[in-house]
């Protein structure tokens, strides 16, 4: 157990699974599977497992995503790291082939496959194509694929173990804005389930639901609000599809106030689904949504940082709601 960075935690999980299963493969493009952590051995999957199992390919994210699917169908566990620039390039094969394969074969297709889809984390300055955070909505509408988005190094590791071991294909969204987080993370393998939300803070006045890169701002806001005397319950969705309705409904039944927070664009952000599930199941809930406006992120840091949801905006919305 040690303080570990996000990517070190994740690669620890991958390294372990690849050691257990000599057939498992990893495909990458420009981000070599290497991570270091103070006082820990460097992890380098490419040198450890060799270039037949760990392959650096050309700029062809659709091949990467399709290839791990084919590897999985041939009986080899397989994972790939799709950089944010290519985050939607393999969309069709995941949506229209992988997501439908088990069902269309009447349960025969096996797909022990993980697509790590990087999201930029909305970096100021890079603009529209390089600062966006929108993939969550696209991927979570796909049936037959488990779409998850961890928000802590601990979950990142535990969910990576679970994802690799899952017989279902998994879209594992990685909000790269969280790469600087560190946390105590066990050295040994452990699993965090792919279908359970986490209650990060308990409270009775207001439920705030968010996920991935939305979480740090939510936790910061919740702390201030708590200090101000508000009793806030914070839910980290973690699983976008299948979504953990029960945790949401139980909380909202108690608080009758729901604030959703997303870095994704407003229209059809994950929060829309959270709200719909909440009000379908609980009467008399007051709701608000914080999200990125329905505009691509501009490059100008002045525009961008004003548009990106942050703790201040969350606090304001929460106060208006309670």
């Amino acid at each position: 157990m040690a303080q570990k960075s996000w990517m070190y935690s994740v690669l620890e999980a991958v390294q372990y699974e690849m050691q257990q299963d000599p057939a498992m493969t990893w495909i990458f493009e420009l981000t070599p599977p290497v991570a270091s952590n103070p006082n820990m051995p460097v992890i380098n999957l490419e040198t450890e497992f060799g270039r037949k199992r760990v392959v650096n390919t050309g700029i062809d994210e659709n091949w990467m995503a399709s290839a791990v699917l084919g590897a999985g169908l041939a009986g080899s566990k397989s994972a790939t790291y799709i950089p944010y620039q290519g985050a939607l390039i393999p969309f069709q094969v995941i949506q229209n082939v992988a997501g439908k394969l088990r069902h269309k074969t009447g349960g025969l297709a096996e797909m022990p496959v993980v697509w790590i889809i990087e999201m930029t984390g909305q970096t100021p300055g890079f603009g529209q194509q390089h600062s966006c955070y929108e993939e969550d909505s696209y991927y979570m509408h796909i049936p037959g694929v488990r779409t998850v988005v961890p928000s802590t190094p601990y979950d990142a590791k535990g969910m990576m173990h679970a994802a690799i071991r899952s017989p279902d294909p998994v879209v594992y969204l990685y909000p790269a804005g969280l790469r600087t987080l560190t946390q105590e993370v066990p050295d040994d393998a452990f699993e965090v389930p792919l279908d359970k939300a986490a209650v990060r803070m308990e409270g009775s006045d207001l439920t705030i639901v968010s996920s991935g890169a939305g979480m740090p701002g939510v936790l910061e806001a919740a702390e201030t609000l708590t200090e101000e005397g508000m009793s806030v319950e914070v839910i980290d969705l973690r699983a976008l599809n299948a979504m953990d309705t029960e945790t949401i409904v139980n909380s909202v039944a108690k608080t009758k106030r729901l604030l959703t927070v997303d870095q994704s664009y407003y229209t059809l952000c994950p929060g829309a689904e959270v709200i719909a599930r909440a009000v379908e199941n609980v009467d008399g809930v007051k709701v608000k949504r914080v999200a990125f406006p329905d505009a691509p992120p501009p490059a100008s840091p002045e525009m961008f940082t004003w548009m990106r949801p942050n703790a201040e905006g969350i606090k304001g919305a929460a106060r208006a709601l309670v």
Binding site: A23, A67, G70, A74, H103, A109, S166, A242
Partner: protein
Amino acid sequence: MTYDLKPSPQPSGGEAPSSESRRGFLKLAALTGAVVSTTGRRALATGDIGFFAKDLSDEKLIDMYRTILQIRWHERTQADQMLSNPDYRGYNHFYAGQEAVATGVCAALRNDGPFDQIDVVYSSHRPSGHAIAKGVDIPKMVAEMDFRATGMNGGYGAEMHISDPSVGFIGADGMIGPAPVIASGSAFAFRARGSDQVAVVFAGDGNYAAPHFHSTLNNAKLLDLPLIYVCENNLYHQYAHYSYSCPHKDIAEAAGAYGIETEIVDGQDVVQVYNAAKEAVDRARAGGGPTFIEAKTYRYYNHWGAPGAKAGELGAFGYDPLAITSFRPEREVRAWMQRDPVDIARKILVDWGVVDETRAAEIDEEVKAEIAEAFEWGLSQPLCAPEDGLKHVFAEGTVPARQFG
């Protein structure tokens, strides 16, 4: 109007050219059966092309012949169902005319044994021939194509999605593009785990234009993958000749540009196909990388067929009034029918002394009966339970119903 979807064959509308001679097409197609026609000619243009095949046992050669017949009779029987049985619901993208391709290729593969040792086949939207050649259970396939609960895929998938991994038939895919790329991923896994398995993908000439074509061949070459890309060039993709989407005369030329081994074969001659496939498989197993086989072939029927069809109309596997840009001249169809894969295969077996005409005719009758039984079994199977549609989304459990609010 002519903007139809596949599912409901509709009157072709006022503007469709009414062609009496094309109406006669279906009758002609019906005649091109197994032992009926005697006009088959075998092409042995390139020297001793029977090399590998000549080493095969009589049994294996007869098996190949039987496979060709199974595919043919499956379609003939299914077409009869479509035209005459009001209860029959299955549709098909017919493979008649192309049987030797699937048969020749799959005869060179490892089709039984544990899953981690057999070769895998990826098919297309025209899968039934590949499936039969790879060894799926035909009665179960018949049941599947008629949406039966005990079908190969429980009635979930039907024709364009049939799959049986137990014989290495990863399955059909109704989309043009993705399958070859995914197949290269299986080949990648074989190489990564040091297995001598090979991955085969069947794809039409239409697949050439898809951007996936580049990804597949480029990565197969770069990573030296044990992948065999079988391009079934039947000259048309739906309503256009392949020259509308491909600047090459031989699509194999495009593959050769990547430095991939290529082979162009007469797709009507099962022996030529087998020989090319055998060489490709041996190369792939030995770590020699990918091969691209272009089989020149032809489909007798039109793009697809469905129940309720009437000769001369869309979905009737005859002339297609949607074919505005480019369509198949009837003379072209007739000419290709003169080189029927069934006839060619039979003639080879007879020439090689494997069977005589009498035995060949017997085999034909045996297969015909086998297929008749398959339909009898398949079409007597139970229909699906509606709620089962909520299963098999994930490996475990069912998803909730949402259609009632």
